[in-house]
Structures are given as structure tokens and as C-alpha cells.
């Protein structure tokens, strides 16, 4: 069994999607900008348009960084589970096949943080 125990044992999963009131977890990190120390954890409804995330949510999360005003999201390169991935800004999370607890990263070429430090 998948844990050493006195008797058969099944752990209670604490983070299945049913516990998030109709939302799903999505993690988004901005490479080379570790001022935001870790990728962010968001909850979104599955029918949320990906473009709305980029236009309405990410500025609030990343806007403090001086690089943000130079960001052109249309040129950003995306990774999902660290593999290349191309989002369609008009589609929803569900339509894009984004599952609960998927992890996305975006790279903004040429922008490498404060004095190129990756921060």
C-alpha cells in the first residue's frame, strides 16, 4: 500500500475540485520575476475566458514590478507543466483543457527583472 500503516489506509484528499465551490485552482508564474517569490495560486470558474485572466487579474497580481508596464501579453511565451503551450485568449479554461491544479508559466522575452537579476 501507498503508506506504511498498521492497517489498510486511505488518506482523505483535501484539495479535490469539489471543495472549491465551483472554482478550480490555477497556478501562474512569471519567469525571471522572482520579486513574486513563487507562482501565484488563483481560483477561477471553468468558464472564465483566458483573456480576462490576462487583462483583469494578472495586472493586479504583477503590476508592482517596473517591468510590467513593458509587458506585451500577446508576445508572451507560455508553458504548461513546463512544456510549451499556446493559449487562445478567446477560449475558456474548460475549452482550453485546463484542469484543476494545472500550473502555467509565462516568459516575457527581453524582460529579466531588476538589473537583469531575475528579480
Amino acid at each position: 500500500m501507498a503508506v506504511k500503516a498498521l492497517k489498510p489506509y486511505k488518506g482523505e484528499v483535501k484539495d479535490n475540485v469539489e471543495r472549491f465551490h465551483g472554482m478550480q485552482l490555477l497556478y501562474i508564474g512569471w519567469d525571471d520575476h522572482k520579486m513574486f517569490v513563487a507562482p501565484f495560486a488563483f481560483v477561477f470558474p471553468p468558464n472564465m475566458r483566458f483573456g480576462d485572466i490576462c487583462e483583469k487579474v494578472l495586472p493586479g497580481a504583477f503590476g508592482y514590478h517596473p517591468d510590467w508596464k513593458k509587458v506585451d501579453m500577446s508576445k508572451a511565451q507560455w508553458l504548461k507543466s513546463s512544456q510549451p503551450w499556446t493559449p487562445d485568449m478567446t477560449k475558456t479554461l474548460a475549452e482550453l483543457g485546463l484542469k484543476h491544479k494545472d500550473a502555467l508559466r509565462f516568459i516575457t522575452p527581453g524582460l529579466t527583472g531588476l538589473k537583469g537579476s531575475s528579480y
Binding site: 488518506g11 482523505e12 483535501k14 507562482p39 493586479g60 500550473a103
Partner: protein
């Protein structure tokens, strides 16, 4: 007439008479029922009498020396309190290192007390039972001495008043909490490797010596006293841990792979918890003792090296993650401080940017990394703060499923890239900060799918006070969570500059040397 006095029993003989041959094999109930936890982990023990007690303490000696230590300790704590000793610290930023220690570590001492009480019942051998029961008493002593030390500071400084409540709730305190819950819910042999060996032998000097030396360097006699007094108990704990691992390895060669896997797991989990110590040493002590990197080189590389050379005779190799931990020594403290600095609204202690002189010290201690990666950040923050634009990150971070720390750790060998690892288990994704944490999950996923991850729990709506209405206009979820933490907003948290602690300390120091 023969007036020659009978020779006293030597230490070893006396101990053997007082502690051996007093137990028995049960017959009313089978031994396996009396000791139900002794075999399920797969550790084979053929002869419990082979157990060697390095410190041969009988109960009379235990009480005598502990009582003496207690008397000395409380005399010093009383004198410190009577003398307003807290005003002798370098400056009140130091108190935040103490807040970190007292809120993060004291609850673990209590759990250690319970854990050792449990294994002190669970082992079939009388020798380890006695040693574990003494350790259980030591650990509750540690909680008590720490609470006494905290009590004095709590009269004057913010952030110390809710450590018990916050242990179960606050995001970064789930890190030490989950560490101990993991050990506490393991079997007795794993518990001994986790706590007795990995935490209290391999890693203990990296926790205690920096905090206690930090206290000594910064005028905090109270902490020095309880620290050194506790450490003398730790010397016994260390030897217990070392004896446990030697005993397991000597009893049966089949035990080696099990023990090695535990060494790998618990070195990594313990190392992750020590992240807090790294940042404390480099950023939170106004008068610094040495850098985290230097402490790591002495206590982990040299000392740990000697230890694992010694254990090599059993076929034990150094922990799997050791090289990665060594590789991180130039980066860890800086990365960690940037987490607490940016999430400074959400923790019940203060944070601040290092001064120019402190940046220069960091630069000298970290010539290959500080100026390139971290100085730009601190200088930027200092500039922003001058303009009234101090950064407080309000968006929740992604956490590692195993260590529960925000995923700020970087790829081995590349401090510019966040390290992302994941596993799929029973149709769901789990994320990890490192190969070490991923491997721990993959070996026992049923344990870690249950993790109470603070960020996820907040999103599930479990982190608000009873009666909170999230739909009310102007609802601020972060403020509501901090309220649930019993964190006193504006007093316990935010930057040290402008804090009540800072103002009070200056005022009281002034009062001690001026006539009004």
C-alpha cells in the same frame, strides 16, 4: 577487623543493575499485542539487550541535574526580567528573530513531548523506553522554559501573544507543524530517525547554535540561558538518536534500505524547515554571528561529513539531498527573506530592508551571489519604501504539497529559475518545490494527499471567523484571514519602520538613561 569499605559499584554496573532485568516477556497477552507498533515498519530487532545507553542516567541523577539546571535557569530569567534586560538588546528588530523562534519552534517541543511519550511506550526494549521517556520530560521542560522566556518579551513587544492559536492556522507555521505531524504519525522507528537522528543529531546545531549565538551577540541573555540549558538536554537527545540508528543497523542488514530511505526523507524535510534559520541569521540579527553559508559549512558539511563517514561502516550513505542543499547555500537565506518581506502583511512579526552597511556585509559573505541577484532587489525596495510605496504582496502563493513552503526554491544549479516538479496521483496533480519533496510524496502519497495547505484552505473558505460574510460589500478576504489568525493588524505585522515595537523600544531606552 576488616575496616575496608566496600567498593561502590562503577557507573556502568550500577546502571545495569538499576535498569536491566526488570522487564519481562508478557504471557497474559502476547508481546505483539502489548507492543503493537513494534513490527509494522519492517524493522527487525533480534536482541533488545544490545541497546547501549551512552549517558547512563538513572532517575535519581536525572532529577538531580535537571533540578539544578532549572534553578539556575529561572534565577537568570527572573534577574533578566527584574533588570529590564530586554532593553539591552542591540535593537528591537532582534526581537523578531525571537518571535520567529518562539512561535515556530515552541509548539514543536510540545509535539516532541507527546511523540517521545508515545515511542517511550511503544518500544519493546527497556533501554530505549527509559531514554525516550526522559526525552519526553525534557521536551515539555523546553516548552515551559520557552514560554517563560516569551512571557517576559510578550509584556513589551507585539506578535508573541497567539502562538498556540497561530500554530494551527498561519501559512508559514504549517511548515514546522506539518513536519512534526508527519513524524508523529509515523511508526516508532521512523519517528526516532526523523526526530532523534535527523533533526536532533544531523540538523540540531543548525537550529540551536545560530539562534542562541544570535541571542548572545544581540544582548538577549534570557534566550541564551534557556537555549544553552535546553541544549544540554539536547546532548542526551543527540546521543539517543545516534544510538538508535546504530542499533537498527547493527540488528539486521535488512534494516539498512528502510533506514536509508528515512535518512533521505528526514534530512530533506528538516533542511526545508531550517529555511527559517537561514534567513534569521543573515537578515534578522542586528549583530550577526556568521552567515548561513558559514554555519552550513561548519555544521552540515564538516560535522555532517564526519558523522556520515562514521556511519559508512554500516553501508549508510549521506542523504540524497545533501549535495542540493550544499548547492543552495549561497541563495537560500536571501530567497527566504524576500518571501517574508513581500508577504510582510501576513506574518505576526516585522520585516525590513537591510541597510546599506548590511548589504555590504551580505556582499562580503556571499561574493558570488549577493550583488548579482539580491542587492538590486533590496535597493529597489528601499527606494520604494522611501516613496511610501512599500511592497506588500496580496496574492496567494503556490505551495509545495510536501513541505508546504511557497514554491520559491530554484532549480539546482540555477538560482534564476523557480524549480517546478509535479506528480499525478489518482487523477489529480500535486506540485513540489524540489526532487526531494516530490520523492517523499511519491513514496507515500496517501499521507500527503491529506495535507492541510493554508492557501487552498483559504480558497475553500475555511479560514474566516465564525459568522464572517464573504458576500458583504467591501469584504477584504486577506484582512478576514488575518483576523482569523488573531493577528493584530498594524501592530503585529508590516514593516519594522514605524512599528509600535520600534517606537516603544526607543522611548523606553530613552527613559532608562534620562530624567524627565
Amino acid at each position: 577487623m576488616d575496616v575496608q569499605a566496600k567498593k561502590k559499584l562503577g557507573l556502568k554496573e550500577k546502571y545495569a543493575h538499576m535498569t536491566r532485568g526488570l522487564d519481562w516477556e508478557t504471557t497474559y497477552q502476547p508481546m505483539d499485542k502489548v507492543f503493537p507498533y513494534a513490527k509494522f515498519e519492517g524493522i527487525k530487532v533480534h536482541d533488545w539487550d544490545q541497546w547501549q545507553d551512552p549517558f547512563r542516567l538513572t532517575m535519581d541523577a536525572y532529577w538531580k541535574y535537571q533540578a539544578e539546571k532549572e534553578r539556575k535557569l529561572y534565577a537568570i530569567l527572573d534577574a533578566y526580567a527584574q533588570n529590564n534586560g530586554h532593553l539591552g538588546v542591540t535593537d528591537a528588530r532582534y526581537v523578531n528573530a525571537l518571535k520567529l523562534f518562539l512561535t515556530g519552534v515552541s509548539p514543536l517541543e510540545y509535539m516532541a513531548h507527546r511523540g517521545f511519550a508515545h515511542v517511550g511506550r511503544a518500544f519493546p526494549g527497556a533501554g530505549p523506553r527509559i531514554a525516550c521517556q526522559m526525552q519526553s520530560l525534557d521536551e515539555i521542560r523546553h516548552v515551559q522554559t520557552q514560554v517563560h522566556a516569551a512571557s517576559n518579551y510578550n509584556k513589551f513587544y507585539n506578535g508573541l501573544h497567539q502562538f498556540r492559536h497561530q500554530h494551527d492556522r498561519v501559512w508559514y507555521l504549517s511548515v514546522p507543524k506539518s513536519f512534526f505531524d508527519d513524524a508523529f504519525t509515523a511508526g516508532p522507528f521512523e519517528y526516532m530517525i526523523a526526530i532523534g537522528f535527523a533533526f536532533e543529531y544531523v540538523l540540531t546545531n543548525l537550529l540551536f547554535v545560530p539562534f542562541m549565538s544570535g541571542a548572545a551577540y544581540n544582548g538577549d541573555m534570557s534566550t541564551v540561558t534557556f537555549g544553552f540549558s535546553a541544549q544540554s538536554d539536547e546532548a542526551r537527545h543527540m546521543t539517543l538518536g545516534l544510538e538508535c540508528i546504530k542499533f537498527m543497523l547493527e540488528q539486521d542488514p535488512d534494516n539498512l534500505p528502510i533506514v536509508q530511505r528515512w535518512i533521505d526523507k528526514w534530512f530533506w524535510r528538516g533542511y526545508r524547515v531550517l529555511t527559517l534559520v537561514a534567513m534569521m541569521m543573515d537578515y534578522m540579527l542586528p549583530k550577526r554571528v556568521m552567515s548561513w553559508k558559514e554555519a552550513w559549512e561548519i555544521y552540515a558539511e564538516q560535522n555532517g561529513g564526519a558523522l556520515f563517514n562514521d556511519l559508512a561502516r554500516y553501508g549508510v550513505r549521506p542523504p540524497k539531498g545533501f549535495a542540493a542543499a550544499c548547492g543552495d547555500k549561497d541563495y537560500l537565506s536571501h530567497q527566504a527573506w524576500s518571501v517574508f518581506y513581500s508577504y510582510g502583511a501576513a506574518a505576526p512579526f516585522h520585516t525590513w530592508t537591510p541597510s546599506p552597511e548590511e548589504n555590504d556585509w551580505l556582499s562580503a559573505k556571499y561574493p558570488s551571489s549577493f550583488d548579482k541577484y539580491y542587492r538590486p532587489l533590496w535597493e529597489f525596495y528601499a527606494e520604494q519604501q522611501k516613496q511610501g510605496n512599500r511592497f506588500y504582496n496580496k496574492t496567494l502563493p503556490m505551495l509545495c504539497q510536501t513541505c508546504q513552503i511557497p514554491m520559491f526554491f530554484t532549480e539546482p544549479g540555477d538560482p534564476t529559475r523557480i524549480c517546478y516538479r509535479e506528480s499525478d496521483y489518482n487523477g489529480m496533480k500535486y506540485h513540489f518545490c524540489s526532487d526531494g519533496c516530490k520523492e517523499i510524496f511519491d513514496n507515500e502519497p496517501e499521507k500527503y494527499v491529506q495535507a492541510w495547505l493554508p492557501v487552498h484552505q483559504i480558497y475553500q473558505g475555511h479560514c474566516f471567523k465564525e459568522g464572517t460574510d464573504p458576500t458583504a460589500p467591501g469584504f477584504d478576504p486577506l484582512k478576514a484571514v488575518l483576523d482569523w489568525y488573531n493577528l493584530d493588524f498594524g501592530r503585529d505585522n508590516l514593516d519594522y519602520e514605524g512599528s509600535e515595537d520600534q517606537k516603544n523600544f526607543a522611548a523606553w531606552r530613552g527613559m532608562a538613561t534620562r530624567n524627565e
